[in-house]
């Protein structure tokens, strides 16, 4: 199962016009976190907030829906969210923390909960983990380089970035520039080359644009906690749903991309293993399902 275990897969989008205006696709992460905060399911959330530098996210502890909104939209570079978890439960005094994570961070969270070394009284306070789809992530300098050098766009003029339809899109006030996603290879983090997870398989709820039409998100509801929160948000009208297209541009595409990420990564893992390099995954001969995220 290349999409991990899930209880429900659907398309959805935020019903809030304001969220729709500022968020990446369907605004699911923002909608869920603001809902959970307002309903006191969580008392704060760790999100990739703005920093002094444009497009460089800074992990922040958001205590209100306004602060969550300020962090809406995807930033295509690393935001070390897990790093501020301790701050969230210590200095901020949170007891039910929500967090947004990309797949590698989700794995970190689950590992932290299984083996809470150095995270005393922290792991049990993570109440909701919303995972986002991730094909790869770029160090900030990489992102700057390929936007200014490859796409020839002044970095300061970028209004929005997006990945979709096999392309990396850069929107400025006047232009919409794109180049094939393949051309970004080589700029990504080294760790992304061995990552077997596209859809945050271990999160409570995962979401992303792959397999969804414009302004909608594909959502996988995975855990009991995720199901409870998601159901409440839908019942309260914060999120509207429509069934996912099973075909070529829907579930099929999501499955295909998840599978190809795994296959590519397994190749690199096996190569690195053959060279005797340390890789935090099993080689394809060491596991039953060669594409399993272990």
């Amino acid at each position: 199962m290349v999409l991990g275990t899930y209880k429900q897969i659907t398309l959805g989008r935020s019903t809030d016009k304001q969220i729709q205006g500022i968020s990446q696709d369907g605004g699911i992460v923002t909608a869920l976190l603001t809902f959970a905060l307002d309903e006191k399911i969580i008392d704060g959330a760790v999100v990739a907030g703005p920093s002094d530098e444009m497009w460089k996210p800074n992990p922040v502890v958001a205590l209100s829906s306004d602060e969550v909104m300020a962090a809406a939209g995807t930033k295509y570079t690393i935001s070390p969210n897990n790093w501020v978890l301790k701050q969230a439960v210590r200095q901020y005094g949170l007891e039910k923390v929500g967090i947004v994570t990309i797949p590698c961070q989700t794995m970190g969270i689950r590992k932290m909960q299984s083996y809470p070394f150095g995270v005393r009284f922290l792991a049990d306070k993570i109440a909701l983990d919303i995972g986002i789809c991730c094909t790869e992530n770029f160090p900030f300098e990489s992102l700057k380089t390929f936007i200014s050098a490859k796409a020839g766009v002044d970095f300061d003029l970028v209004e929005k970035m997006d990945i979709g339809k096999g392309k990396f899109w850069i929107k400025t006030q006047d232009d919409l520039i794109s180049f094939p996603i393949k051309e970004t290879h080589g700029y990504e983090q080294n760790g992304c080359k061995v990552c077997l997870d596209l859809v945050s398989e271990l999160s409570d709820i995962s979401t992303g644009s792959i397999g969804a039409p414009d302004n909608w998100s594909a959502i996988q509801v995975r855990t009991d906690i995720g199901e409870t929160v998601f159901k409440q948000a839908v019942d309260a009208g914060a999120i509207e749903l429509k069934p996912i297209d099973e075909g070529k541009f829907g579930l099929e595409m999501l499955t295909k991309l998840a599978k190809s990420k795994k296959e590519k990564a397994m190749k690199v893992i096996d190569e690195r293993k053959a060279m005797g390099l340390p890789v935090p995954y099993k080689g394809s001969s060491e596991k039953e399902d060669p594409l399993a995220n272990v």
């Binding site: 008392d43 704060g44 205590l63 701050q87 210590r90 200095q91 901020y92 005094g93 005393r120």
Partner: protein
């Protein structure tokens, strides 16, 4: 006909120590000697020559029972050496951390003495009460100092960060709700200690009491000129004991002293009780004082105030003193910083002061009461050990190279 009773190691305390008592025909102790047999830590040597920031991080590992007083004493000593005046809010956060730790540590001691005083039918009540108190006060340390055991946010120059307003309100509500529970707990323990009917005068030594402050600690009340330190061979009249004892004997005005809750109550609260029962009562009462202090500090704390001072790490080789009133007594650290490195470091820890006083405190009563007397001091020996066994064959401690000033 004199007989020798040896308890080794003494139980329900931190670290290893031995109690050697000479008893007469009735079993009455005529001479008591208590000494540490815990292996040396040597942390003062480890931090010497390194950057000052290393010291609080390393010395807090001196022991898992009171890492917080050691961290605070360390940063206070370095602050003093570097001439740093910490912001008001930082001082409040440090005081909060220590007060919460004292309540926690005293609660642990009540757990250790439970089998001495608590009857079977009240055991569950007493232990639950200890657990509940600890949970709340450790939560305070967690949030204010970053970590409950080895506080990461207590820094030279202040604190790493202030707490959020949400955390302040949450802590205020929880600690305020804890007050009636602590009152009930203290009544329970004080009542049970009284019920035990220990003989009057048990543990009374008339040794002078030494304390620098009622709660937090005040370096101006510790006079280094009045302090001397001698080797165990000179102190203990039994050469066998003197050879094996692992702690030096600190003296104030040339005399052995008592530190700890009773000493604080005597110096700053005109408390006149002496001996085992008085020590237990004073310790329990400190839980009340400290929880009120926590609530008051949380009410006053400005969460938007700065908590870190600007300072220059170079140093002038001034001997800095940090005096912290830890749960078991006065903990003094001394540090000299010059050229951005720690040139000299020394810890004068609570139980070291008490060790020479604890042995004689057993005298005049049946040796069965010996362990009661020792436990009333809540000894914690890991940090008290400053000399090293040089001969493994006969376990002798010949030379002290660790804390010479």
């Amino acid at each position: 006909m004199s007989e020798k009773i040896v308890i080794s190691p003494t139980s329900r305390q931190e670290g290893h120590a031995e109690l050697v008592m000479d008893v007469d025909d009735e079993g009455i102790v005529t001479k008591g000697r208590y000494f540490s047999i815990t292996p040396v830590r040597g942390l003062e040597k480890i931090v010497t020559g390194k950057v000052p920031e290393t010291a609080p991080v390393i010395v807090q590992r001196i022991c898992g029972v009171c890492p917080i007083p050691h961290t605070l004493a360390s940063v206070e000593a370095i602050d003093d050496s570097l001439g740093i005046e910490i912001p008001k809010a930082a001082r409040q956060l440090r005081e909060l951390t220590l007060a919460a730790h004292v309540v926690n540590s005293h609660a642990i001691h009540h757990f250790l003495i439970a089998t001495d005083f608590v009857p079977e039918n009240l055991m569950a009540t007493a232990i639950n009460s200890v657990s509940e108190i600890r949970k709340t006060v450790q939560y305070v340390v967690d949030m204010v100092a970053g970590e409950g055991i080895h506080p990461s946010d207590v820094r030279i120059g202040g604190m790493a960060s202030n707490i959020s307003e949400l955390a302040r309100k949450r802590l205020y509500a929880r600690t305020k709700a804890l007050i009636p529970k602590i009152d009930a707990h203290v009544d329970l323990i004080v009542g049970l200690v009284a019920d035990k009917d220990l003989p009057a005068g048990l543990g009374v030594t008339h040794a002078p009491t030494l304390a620098t402050d009622h709660t937090y600690g005040d370096r101006t009340n510790f006079d280094l000129d009045r302090f001397t330190e001698i080797m165990p061979e000179t102190w203990y009249d039994d050469p066998e004991v003197g050879k094996r004892a692992c702690s030096t004997i600190p003296l104030y005005d040339g005399r052995n002293v008592e530190v700890g809750p009773r000493a604080r109550a005597a110096v700053f609260g005109s408390y006149t009780g002496e001996g085992v029962v008085a020590q237990h009562v004073a310790r329990a009462m400190e839980m009340k004082t400290n929880i009120s202090k926590i609530v008051d500090l949380l009410a006053e704390l400005d969460t938007s105030a700065p908590v870190m001072a600007d300072y220059d790490i170079t140093g002038t080789n001034k001997l800095g003193i940090g005096a912290i009133e830890g749960p078991r007594g006065m903990d003094v650290h001394m540090a000299q910083i010059a050229d951005g490195k720690t040139q000299f470091y020394s810890c004068l820890v609570p139980t070291t002061w008490n060790i020479p006083t604890m042995g004689p405190a057993t005298e005049g009563f049946h040796h069965d009461f010996g362990p009661h007397v020792i436990r009333a001091y809540d000894p914690c020996l890991s940090c008290a050990t400053h000399v090293i066994v040089v001969d493994d064959e006969d376990k002798s401690v010949l030379k002290n190279e660790m804390v010479r000033i």
